[in-house]
């Protein structure tokens, strides 16, 4: 019901454009560093682990496709979503929880305003819009991380790394990753806002709401990942 009302408020004007932009900056731009770092080291470790395995079967030339497909189809969307949940989702739940505790949400309601439209919709919308961009950043930086290890460290040719990648990666793989990111964006916005909005009173209530938001969203991301993978691929 909360999600339904939120989606209805998202689709009906007026949209709080300024608030949406502010939240895109908060969820998207401010997560960029952590996403870049996670992406780099994920790409590097996939290459580091994958190269010897591929060499055993004489297919080290396929390192590029292996790194890129792992990232684009699976690791990019999932790890990005988990990192955003930890960094931004927890903050969203805590902020809304404190707004509930300090009666700021009641104040909005008593001004004749719809709190969902002011507090929840900008976060959900920003989360849906930011996740695909962050996922693409994660994928690109991760592929470059794989390049660093595979080509610079382990001696694979750069042409082979990128050439084989372009042979194997299809549009369907990229779109699948984007669909996952969109679904995870909705999920993070929804779960974290819901938990904050229904936070119990006091510091303990906000603390519990924040913990539940992160745990529930993280678990749901992995569950949702399975089903989206089943449908998309």
């Amino acid at each position: 019901m909360f999600l339904g009302q939120t989606l209805l408020d998202t689709l009906t004007p007026p949209v709080q454009g300024e608030r949406v932009l502010r939240q895109i900056w908060f969820i998207g731009w401010k997560s960029m560093l952590v996403i870049a770092l996670t992406g780099t080291f994920t790409g590097m470790v996939v290459a580091l682990q994958g190269f010897p395995t591929l060499r055993r079967v004489g297919s080290e030339a396929l390192l590029g496709p292996m790194v890129s497909l792992s990232l684009i189809r699976e690791l990019g969307p999932v790890l990005t979503a988990l990192m955003v949940t930890g960094r931004a989702g927890s903050a969203i739940a805590a902020e809304i929880g404190i707004m509930r505790t300090t009666e700021q949400i009641d104040a909005l309601e008593l001004m004749g305003l719809n709190p969902l439209r002011y507090v929840v919709v900008p976060n959900v919308l920003a989360s849906i819009l930011a996740l695909p961009v962050l996922t693409v950043v994660f994928d690109v930086i991760g592929i470059l991380g794989g390049y660093l290890v595979g080509v610079r460290l382990l001696g694979l040719s750069g042409g082979t790394y990128f050439g084989e990648m372009s042979n194997y990666v299809e549009l369907k793989d990229i779109l699948g990753g984007i669909y996952k990111a969109l679904a995870f964006g909705l999920l993070i916005g929804w779960v974290c806002c819901y938990k904050g909005y229904h936070s119990r009173f006091g510091a303990e209530g906000v603390s519990a709401a924040t913990t539940q938001a992160v745990v529930n969203a993280s678990v749901l991301i992995l569950v949702c990942d399975y089903f989206v993978t089943t449908v998309v691929y």
Partner: protein, 255 residues
């Protein structure tokens, strides 16, 4: 202006309100007193439709609150101001933006008119110089005054004050209550003030309603309430126990 009839509200097994009835005339300023946790703040929230009663009816400005649609309730709420215990200011906004917020969102006024109106209200509460500050840079008394400015900027007909002096020292508390009294006098608002500031609030209200064990047991002008023979009223108003204080006797034994 406000009429409450046989209002019941419980949470689980705990019955907080057990048949509350009272009336507030237009332009009247009424204090609602009673022991802590007795349901005074709850009663205010029921009046503005933030919570629904289990039984009973509430009429505000001639409208049956429980029967209103969401849109009708929004329209009614635009005529009511509510000053929260903690102020409920938006901490991400400056004082100016907090006060301007309802005007920007609910009226078609231009920025110039909004500026004029906001500064007038801040002047009224003596905080013109604090316009650019954020709530976390304000003292408790200043927060309450900004909350009052944000409430008054919408020109409400009815204002509900939920323990607005809690946590303030006696001097600031007196200044805030004086300000409420002055505002009521000048604007002729209908108001309900929940407060424990006895007897200070008796100087600014016309009637006092006392909530005890879930019911309104007295609605009287302050002087008549003070002269009431009811021991419960006397105990609360004068802070004197009608009988032996068993709890304190127990504590004394421990010291």
């Amino acid at each position: 202006m406000i009429r409450v009839e046989n209002l019941w509200k419980s949470f689980g097994n705990q019955e907080v309100l057990r048949g509350v009835s009272f009336e507030v005339q237009a332009g009247e300023f009424v204090a609602l007193i009673g022991s802590s946790g007795g349901g005074k703040s709850l009663l205010l929230k029921l009046l503005v439709g933030l919570l629904k009663p289990d039984r009973g009816r509430i009429w505000v400005a001639g409208k049956d609150v429980a029967a209103l649609s969401r849109r009708e309730l929004e329209s009614l709420r635009s005529r009511i101001g509510f000053v929260f215990q903690g102020g409920a200011l938006f901490d991400s906004m400056t004082v100016y933006n907090n006060v301007a917020f309802p005007l920007r969102e609910k009226t078609s006024l231009g920025e110039k008119d909004i500026y004029r109106k906001v500064m007038r209200e801040l002047e009224l509460v003596g905080l013109r110089d604090a316009a650019r500050k954020y709530p976390d840079q304000l003292s408790g008394g200043m927060l309450k005054r900004v909350a009052l400015a944000r409430t008054l900027v919408r020109d409400p007909e009815i204002v509900l004050f939920d323990e607005p002096t809690t946590g303030l020292d006696p001097v600031v508390s007196r200044a805030v209550l004086d300000l409420f009294g002055l505002v009521h006098q000048r604007l002729q608002l209908t108001g309900i003030l929940v407060s424990h500031e006895i007897p200070r609030i008796f100087e600014i209200v016309q009637e006092v309603a006392m909530l005890h064990e879930g019911r309104i047991i007295a609605v009287e002008p302050p002087d008549r309430l003070c002269a009431s023979p009811d021991p419960v009223v006397q105990e609360f108003v004068n802070g004197k126990s009608a009988g032996k204080n068993c709890h304190l006797e127990g504590v004394a034994g421990l010291i």
